[in-house]
Subunit: 249 residues, 2 copies
DNA sequence: AACGTATGTTCACTCATCGAGAACGGCGGG
DNA sequence: CCCGCCGTTCTCGATGAGTGAACATACGTT
């Protein structure tokens, strides 16, 4: 048995969870349609997940339950880089006036694990708990630059989806970009993930020069113009990431 | 079939998750011992949970995966009270110099959903993502005071565990305490949950006067002495909770 | 007011599957 | 060198996950 999900029922429950997360507030019938299962089967899953606290019932609609928040918090708190980076991103947000984010790499994805917004800053396209594509964000690109070549090639082979018109979709362009990231330990995102949003990021690597995480500062294009972004803020982000990296060794 | 967990395999996977959360970094054999299953069965669960991103493998040890953080964040973000209370708890922490916490009630438990610490404040006994007993914390007691009597009676019948020597363990004492909470919309925790820690809390109720959440400020006993706690800070907490409550109507 | 159709819930039934147990290869300590 | 532990794989049998039909209930329409 070399299936990807040896325990099918668990996989099904996970699909139910994911569906509830997407369509917040759904009933059994609607859920059964979306996951393509019989009402009775879904009913059993929903009942189990509710008893576990993974779901919560309001009237006849289900929502994600706070037991997931407990587990999720534990998943975040165990990361050494989280505690180490917290003060730094607070300070970064403060002095830059933008949004500072800690992205953590895990099995092919980068998740925004902590985020601080300067007061008055707008809501960024990637928020705490979101996972972003590795080729289309500043943080993702810094991480990718410090991952094995095979991983990059796999990504390229799978196809680089265009998120905006400026997203890098060409393999060679990406490879060049990653090389330049390795030269300077910085990546920029010039509206490659969201129109009107830019970002700078720098990687946090382990002792084998493998990416563990990335720190980024982002903001709306009109507020973070070329000079400020590429000179002042860039320096701050790079040195913050380096300093966290040293703390972790 | 009126079992509590109709889908047994999902329940089992949940037990695996909980066990991994408790003993961070465990292998298959250790896990099999703790959940009392065969190695092969645990292996299957761990494999599916890893494929789902709910677990992550480091060497041969498993840890909670960031997919749980994604779900957990979504579970928190959907709560209207969360967004509404964020600025208030930031401000509360700032002016009080202590730790401000938003506790949300869900199916018999109260979970710390957001927490802000004044800079320099110590690490509190209940942290973001933790669930606390309803009878032994300030926030828990305010919530309990605005829940149906049956729920209180059920809790009393199940037995009020002593967390510290000062925890309320007597049913009548609890009932009296809750009545006084209803009079003033405040509860205090005088080292009932952790030695050396005190707290004030005030409830956030819905249009039917049912507790939805609670706001609390806590700090070490020596820093939050009687007068400051019971007069200055109390007023701030009560009015903050009231103001959030109004925003939600 | 009676209908039609949506919902959530319960019930037998059946085949796939979850879990047990034994066996394998690999690693590390005595 | 070998014993013991580890993670992984296999076969196999009991059980439980999922189906589909039936039920009660609520709602909007005719």
């Amino acid at each position: 048995m070399t299936a990807e999900f040896p325990v099918k029922a668990t996989h099904t429950s996970a699909r139910v969870l994911r569906t509830v997360a997407e369509a917040d507030g759904v009933g059994v019938s609607e859920l059964a349609r979306r996951v393509d299962l019989s009402k009775s089967a879904v009913h059993k899953h929903v009942q189990t997940l509710t008893a576990l606290g993974y779901l919560t019932r309001e009237d006849d609609d289900y929502h994600l339950g706070l037991a997931l928040f407990e587990l999720g918090t534990a998943a975040r708190d165990r990361l050494p880089v989280y505690e180490a980076a917290l003060p730094a991103i607070d300070r970064l947000a403060d002095v830059s006036g933008g949004v500072a984010t800690l992205l953590v790499y895990e099995s092919g994805r980068a998740v925004a694990v902590a985020q601080t917004r300067a007061n008055g800053s707008l809501s960024p396209p990637i928020r705490e708990g979101d996972g972003g594509p590795l080729h289309a964000t500043a943080g993702g690109k810094t991480i990718l630059a410090y991952r094995p070549d095979e991983e990059v090639e796999r990504l390229v082979a799978d196809g680089l989806d265009a998120v905006t018109q400026k997203t890098i979709t060409d393999g060679d362009a990406l490879r060049r970009e990653l090389q330049s990231v390795r030269d300077r330990r910085v990546a920029f995102d010039r509206e490659e993930y969201a129109e009107g949003w830019q970002a700078v990021a720098s990687p946090i690597t382990d002792s084998e020069q493998q990416a563990v995480a990335a720190i980024s500062v982002s903001g709306p294009t009109e507020r973070m113009s070329g000079k400020t972004l590429e000179e002042d803020i860039t320096g701050l982000v790079v040195s913050a990431a380096k300093s966290i990296e040293n703390d972790l060794l």
